[in-house]
């Protein structure tokens, strides 16, 4: 058992897949160290068999998301000082609600299948002009802008209890993407999209716990997007244009 001290971190790291155990590593504490730095140091200096995923290291790709001391977050943008317990301990787990491939790396296919199922792709109509202007001040544009910066890291999916309870639930990120497209005035796929997100696995399943909103590293509120989808569904059911 690694002892934590002012100069050393005691890091419990999940090893295995669905079945596994925590392995404890002692890692020197350094100035401005991120959680990703800690994982990388373990992998390079102590155990080369440790599996994890990262790419950009600057909060653009979203691939390094893990559960750090119980909170899903980007490890590259989380300093040790923000996450560590008072007694110098870290507990690193793979994202919840995903199938674990090995150690800290998870399978993202089922997650992105849900983006497809929520019709989270742009459906082009007839071009209105060579370059269609969507004025930034319109309500639709503002609503789309509020959710458009999602990079698909899976932190909200990991944070959501409804995803845990209901394996069919589309989840916060796909529903947020659907909402940005509902508000895209160039898109013509809303009939199919609202149908896709209206079922018991869609926006109605959301309990508005707001865990997705709490944990989203981009500061997006999928909860509000999902509430928007509910309103859009009502307008459509009552026969009004979206």
């Amino acid at each position: 058992m690694a002892e934590a001290s002012e100069s050393t971190l005691s890091v419990d790291v999940w090893r295995g897949a669905a079945e596994g155990r925590f392995q404890t590593f002692a890692v020197p504490r350094r100035a401005h160290q991120t959680i990703l730095d800690v994982v990388t140091e373990i992998q390079r200096d102590q155990d080369a068999t440790l599996s994890y995923r990262f790419a950009c290291r600057v909060g653009m790709c979203g691939s390094c998301a893990m559960v750090v001391n119980g909170r899903p977050r980007w490890t590259c943008r989380t300093r040790v000082s923000e996450a560590v317990t008072d007694d110098g301990k870290l507990k690193l787990e793979p994202l919840r609600n995903f199938t674990v491939v090995k150690d800290l790396a998870v399978e993202m296919v089922a997650f992105f299948d849900k983006w497809r199922d929520a019709k989270g792709h742009f459906t082009p109509g007839e071009p209105q002009a060579d370059f269609q202007v969507v004025p930034p001040a319109t309500l639709e544009r503002k609503a789309a802008d509020a959710g458009i910066e999602c990079i698909g890291c899976g932190v909200c999916h990991s944070a959501c209890d409804v995803v845990t309870w209901n394996k069919d639930y589309l989840g916060p990120a796909p529903l947020n993407r659907a909402w940005t497209l509902v508000n895209d005035v160039r898109d013509v796929g809303n009939d199919a999209r609202i149908d896709a997100v209206s079922g018991s696995a869609g926006c109605h399943a959301c309990h508005s716990h707001m865990s997705c909103t709490e944990f989203c590293p981009r500061g997006i509120s999928p909860t509000y997007s999902i509430a928007g989808l509910k309103r859009a569904m009502i307008r459509r059911a009552l026969g009004r244009k979206l």
Partner: protein, 115 residues
């Protein structure tokens, strides 16, 4: 189907928010100085507003409660098929019947009830 149930539940919730508030406020106001059952009935008998209000209340309950219960059962139990809808339609009917019976009992005079 889900869309209709969702709208029905939200609309009935809006009615209930109003009805429950009026219901509780009336009870608190009416009994503040002490009131016998006979005195209550004397005020409710033949009061059309009272009867209309409680009919609306009962309708809202019969719509709202089974839909909510359906969601709970579908989320927390293995029952997902049609039988759950049939059972909850029956539950709605029971709520309607019991509610109407209570509303009628305090609205109509005893002679009318006894035939």
């Amino acid at each position: 189907m889900t869309a209709i149930l969702f709208i029905a539940q939200r609309a009935s919730a809006a009615v209930l928010a109003f009805a429950v508030t009026v219901h509780l406020a009336t009870i608190l106001y009416a009994v503040r100085g002490g009131l016998t059952a006979g005195e209550v009935l004397a005020r409710t008998r033949d009061n059309h507003w009272f009867f209309a209000f409680y009919v609306l209340f009962v309708l809202a309950v019969a719509v709202h409660a089974p839909i909510g219960l359906r969601n709970v059962l579908r989320e927390w139990t293995p029952f997902h098929h049609r039988s759950i809808d049939v059972a909850l339609a029956l539950f709605a009917f029971v709520l309607l019947a019991l509610g109407f019976r209570a509303a009628v009992a305090v609205y109509l005079p005893p002679e009318a009830l006894l035939g």
